[in-house]
C-alpha cells in the first residue's frame, strides 16, 4: 500500500505526463484540490495507524473479556465486540490486513498488466492478439464468484486470494498501457529515438513508461479501493480467517449483533468506507490534476449560457432597407482559457455577402475563418463568447442584443431553411447509422413540409444534380459504402435540398483528392449559377478563390486584413500577408497564372 502513496509523490516531481506538457507540478495541483489533500491525509493516517498499531492500540486485539458488546467506555473508547475484544485496537490492527490486501492486488495487477500492455502495444502481432483474448476472458469473469472458488481451493488465505484478485484486475492496466503505447509508438520523438540507435527496451523505459506512469497510478488507486471492497466482502461473508482482527470480520460480527449493539457495526463500516473513499477521491483528484481541471470547469460553467454577448455595441445603426443577404459587423469571438484569460479567435471582422455572389474567406488554419462561418450558422462551440459585434441576415439581427446571446430562436427558423452548410470532412459529417437517403429526406419533410414520397423523388433528383452516377443506389446506401467524393456530393445535395438563400461552405474540397476537388468545385459553381444563392466559401486555398469566388476577404489572426473584388486583390494585393499567400500559391496553378497574365495584358492596354 505505502508503495502506491510513495509513487504518487515521486510521480509528482518531474512535471507530469512524461515531460510532454509543462505545467506546475502535479503534486501542487493535487494539493490545491481540497479533495486531493483530504484523501492523501486520510490515507496517511490509515497507513500510520497500521504501522504504529502495536504502539497505539490500548489493548491486545485478540484478548477476549466478559465485557461483551459494550458501548464506548473509558476503558474501551469505541466499545467491545461480541467476544469482549476492544474495537479500537482491532480497528488499528485491522488496517494492516486491509492495506496489505490492497497493495498485493495493485502490485500483482501492475506486474502483469504493465509489461503485457507494453509488449502488446509496442510489438503487436501474435502477442497482442493472445493477450487481448486473455484479457477479454478475464473481464468476463465475475470477480466475486472467482474469489469464492479460490477460497474453496486454498482456504481462508486472504493474501493468496488477493494475488488472484490482482490477476483479475490486470486487464485494466493492460488496456491502459497498451493503448498509450500504441499511440506513443508512432510519435516522432520515438522514431527519432529509434533512429538515434536506442534499443527497444530503453525506448520503452524512457519514453513510454513516462507517458503511462500517471494513468497507471490513478488506476492503482482505483484497484486498491476495489480490492479492499472485495476483501472485506469475503470476510463479511464469513469466508475470512475468523481469528484475525480484520475490518471485514468485524463488520460480520457487528452485523450479527446489530440489534444488541449497532455501534459495533458502525466503526468498521466507517473505516472501510473512508479508506475506499480516500482511494477513489485520490484517483479522481489525480486525474483532475493531470487534466488541468480549471479548463474543464470554465467549459461547463460557460456551457450553460452558450455564446454570451458580453458587451453590446451601442453603435448599431438602423438597418438599411436594401440590406445585404448576410452581413457581419465588427464580430469578436473569444474563448475562456484556464486562468481566467480569454483567447480572441475573431477580432473585429466585418464583411457582407449578397445573393448571387460567392464570397471567399481565405486564411491559414487558426485565422478564425471557420469560427466566423460557425457564428453565422449559430453553431459555435458551447464555450465560445461573442463579445462584440452583430450578425445580420437580410437585415435581421441573429445576435440578440437584449438578452446578450446568439438568438437561437431566430436561427432555428433560418438554419436549414434559409442558411445551409457544407462541411469540410465528408465522412464524419454523415451519421453512420442512417442511410444517405433518410438523411436527405428528413430535413426536407421537416423544413419544406412535403410528403415523404415527394422528398424521396426530390432527393433522387438532387443526387443526380450533384453528379452522382447511380442515385438510387447511393440513396439506399450507408455512408461507409460510398467514397469521400461521393459523400461530399451528398452533403452538397443536402445543403441545397431546402432551397436556401445562403450556403456556408467550410473548406468543401480540402479533404478530397485533387481530381475530385475540381469536380466538386464545378458542382458548387454550376448550382450557384443556376440557383443564385449567396455562398460563403471558407478556404485556405487561393486557387479555389480564384476559381469560384467573386469577392474575397483575407483573414489573419482573427482580423480581416484585406477584402474586395477577387480580380483586384489577385492583381494588386495591398497587404503583405495577401502577397505572401499569393506567392505561395503561384507555383503551378493554372487558373491563377491565367488570371495573372490577364492582368499583365490588361495592365499593358
Amino acid at each position: 500500500m505505502s508503495a502506491v502513496v510513495d509513487d504518487v509523490s515521486a510521480q509528482a516531481e518531474p512535471g507530469g505526463l512524461g515531460g510532454a506538457v509543462k505545467r506546475p507540478g502535479v503534486a501542487g495541483r493535487l494539493f490545491r484540490n481540497p479533495m486531493g489533500t483530504a484523501s492523501v491525509l486520510l490515507l496517511a493516517v490509515i497507513v500510520l495507524s497500521a504501522v504504529l498499531a502495536g504502539v497505539l492500540a490500548p489493548h491486545d486485539p485478540a484478548r477476549a473479556t466478559d465485557n461483551v458488546l459494550t458501548g464506548p467506555t473509558a476503558l474501551n473508547l469505541l466499545g467491545t465486540d461480541s467476544n469482549g475484544r476492544d474495537i479500537l485496537s482491532r480497528l488499528l490492527f485491522g488496517a494492516r490486513g486491509t492495506l496489505m490486501s490492497a497493495a498485493i492486488a495493485a502490485v500483482v495487477a501492475i506486474l502483469i498488466g504493465l509489461p503485457a500492455g507494453l509488449l502488446a502495444g509496442y510489438y503487436g502481432k501474435w502477442f497482442d492478439g493472445l493477450s487481448s483474448w486473455a484479457t477479454n476472458i478475464l473481464m468476463a469473469l465475475p470477480g466475486m464468484i472467482v474469489l469464492l472458488a479460490v477460497r474453496a481451493a486454498v482456504g481462508p488465505n486472504i493474501y493468496l486470494t488477493m494475488v488472484i484478485f490482482g490477476v483479475l484486475m490486470s486487464p485494466g492496466f493492460f488496456r491502459l498501457v497498451r493503448t498509450a503505447t500504441q499511440s506513443v509508438r508512432n510519435e516522432l520523438y520515438v522514431d527519432a529515438a529509434r533512429v538515434a540507435g536506442l534499443s527497444d527496451l530503453s525506448i520503452m523505459g524512457r519514453h513510454i513508461l513516462g507517458v503511462v506512469r500517471a494513468p497507471v497510478i490513478i488506476q492503482a488507486a482505483m484497484v486498491s479501493g476495489i480490492a479492499i471492497s472485495f476483501q472485506s466482502s469475503l470476510e463479511f461473508l464469513g469466508l475470512g480467517d475468523p481469528s484475525a482482527a480484520t475490518w471485514g470480520v468485524m463488520v460480520n460480527d457487528g452485523f450479527r449483533n446489530i440489534y444488541r449493539q449497532p455501534l459495533a457495526l458502525l466503526w468498521p463500516t466507517l473505516a472501510i468506507s473512508l479508506t475506499i473513499g480516500s482511494f477513489v477521491l485520490l484517483a479522481n483528484a489525480l486525474r483532475d490534476a493531470l487534466e488541468d481541471h480549471v479548463n474543464v470547469k470554465e467549459k461547463t460553467s460557460a456551457s450553460r449560457r452558450p455564446a454570451t454577448v458580453a458587451a453590446v455595441p451601442a453603435t448599431v445603426a438602423a438597418e438599411p432597407v436594401d440590406a445585404h443577404l448576410c452581413e457581419v459587423r465588427d464580430l469578436r469571438i473569444e474563448y475562456p482559457q484556464p486562468g481566467g484569460e480569454r483567447k480572441t479567435v475573431v477580432d473585429g471582422a466585418s464583411w457582407y455577402v449578397d445573393r448571387d455572389e460567392v464570397l471567399g474567406i481565405v486564411g491559414e488554419s487558426g485565422s478564425g475563418k471557420s469560427q466566423t462561418a460557425f457564428a453565422v450558422l449559430g453553431l459555435l462551440p458551447d464555450n465560445a463568447l461573442v463579445t462584440s459585434g452583430q450578425i445580420l441576415f437580410e437585415g435581421k439581427r441573429t445576435i440578440d442584443t437584449a438578452s446578450r446571446r446568439i438568438d437561437q430562436s431566430a436561427l432555428t427558423g433560418l438554419r436549414g431553411r434559409r442558411i445551409s452548410y457544407i462541411p469540410q470532412e465528408p465522412m464524419s459529417n454523415l451519421d453512420p447509422s442512417f442511410t444517405i437517403g433518410s438523411q436527405l429526406v428528413r430535413p426536407m419533410t421537416r423544413i419544406l413540409g412535403i410528403s415523404k414520397s415527394e422528398a424521396v423523388t426530390k432527393a433522387l433528383d438532387l443526387l443526380s444534380a450533384v453528379g452522382i452516377p447511380n442515385p438510387k443506389r447511393t440513396f439506399s446506401a450507408y455512408p461507409h459504402q460510398v467514397s469521400g467524393g461521393m459523400a461530399q456530393r451528398v452533403l452538397i445535395a443536402g445543403a441545397i435540398s431546402c432551397d436556401p438563400d445562403l450556403i456556408i461552405a467550410d473548406e468543401p474540397t480540402t479533404a478530397l483528392d485533387v481530381t475530385v476537388q475540381a469536380e466538386v468545385l464545378d458542382v458548387i459553381r454550376d448550382l450557384q449559377t443556376e440557383l443564385h444563392q449567396g455562398i460563403i466559401l471558407v478556404t485556405h486555398n487561393f486557387g479555389v478563390v480564384a476559381d469560384i469566388c467573386d469577392r474575397v476577404a483575407v483573414m489573419q489572426n482573427g482580423r480581416i486584413v484585406e477584402q474586395g473584388d477577387v480580380r483586384t486583390i489577385l492583381r494588386h494585393p495591398a497587404h503583405e500577408y495577401t502577397q505572401m499567400l499569393l506567392q505561395s500559391m503561384l507555383v503551378g496553378k493554372p487558373p491563377l497564372t491565367r488570371l495573372m497574365s490577364d492582368s499583365a495584358t490588361g495592365g499593358m492596354k
Binding site: G155, S229, G416, D431
Partner: protein, 313 residues
Amino acid sequence: MLQFIAKRLVAGVVALFVVACLTFVLLYSTSGDVARNIMGDQASAASVAAKAHELGLDQPLMSRLSSWLWQATHLQFGTSWFTSQPVFTAIANRLPLTLTMVCVAILLIGVVATFLGVTAAVKRGAADRAVQIMAVLAASLPGYIVGIVLVLVFAIQLRWFPAISRIGPRSGAAVWVASLTLPVVALMLNGIAGAAQQIRSAFIKQLEQDYVRTLRSRGIPEREILFRHVLRAAAPAGLTVLSLQFISLLGGVVIIESIFALPGLGSLAVSATTQGDLPLVMGVVIYTVAIVVVVNLLVDVANGWLNPKVRVS
C-alpha cells in the same frame, strides 16, 4: 451478420472451455484431504480411502478433467459431495431467484443510468456534478454496506420491508415483491452512478461528432438529434457498459443474498465454498460464466445489428 454471430458464438464456447479447465485445475489440484473432511475424524483410513476412490480423487487430475468435460457436454456436472444432490438440480433450484433479481436490477440500472447519463451530458452543470458525486459515493461503499444500511433503515427502523426473505416454494407474487425490493435496490445502487457516468461520457463523445453539427445546420430539432441520432450512436457503448455491470451484479448478488437470506445461487455458492463442496463450486462457476457468455453474445449481436457496417455486409 450470421458469420459474425457464429464467430462470437465460437469465441464464447472457447472462453467457457478455457475457464472450465482453469477452474477445475485450480480447485482440484490444491484441495487437501477432502475424503477425510467428509468422513470425519473418527473414520478409519480404509473408509477414507474408499471415499476418495468413490469420488474419483485417486485418479490423475487430467483424466478427471476430461471426464468432467465429457459429462458437462451432457449437462451433468457431478453430484454434491455433502448432499449427494446432482449439481445440475441444486443449481436449477436456485437459479430462477438469482436471475430474476439480476435481470430486474440490470433493466432498472439501464433505464435510470441512461436517463441520468444523458441528462448530465446535455444539461451539464448541477446534474453533471450530482452524477459525479454519486459515482464517487457508490464507488466508496461496498455492496454489503449498502445492503446493511438498507436493512437498518427500511427493514428495522421503518419496517416497510422484511429484513429477511420470506420466499418459500409456494410464495405468491406479493411475497416475492416484498422480499425482493430491498435486495434489488441494494444491487442497483452500486451500479447506477458508475453506469450513468460512463453513459454520460459515451453520449458526450457522440455529441462532439461532426455530423451532429451538420444535423443542426440542416434545421433538425435538437430533441430529435439527441434521441434519434446521438442516443442511437451512443447505444453500443451503453450496452457494453451494461454488460460489464451485469457481470459485477452476478458477483454482487452473492453478498446481497447472504444479507437478506435469499435462497439463490449466491448463497449456494457461499455455503458450498464454506463446506469445500468442490463439484458444487465448480458448477456455480461454470453456470455464472455461461450466463456471462450468453449476455456478452447478446450484446455483441445487438451492437452488430446497430452498426450498419456489420449488419449490411
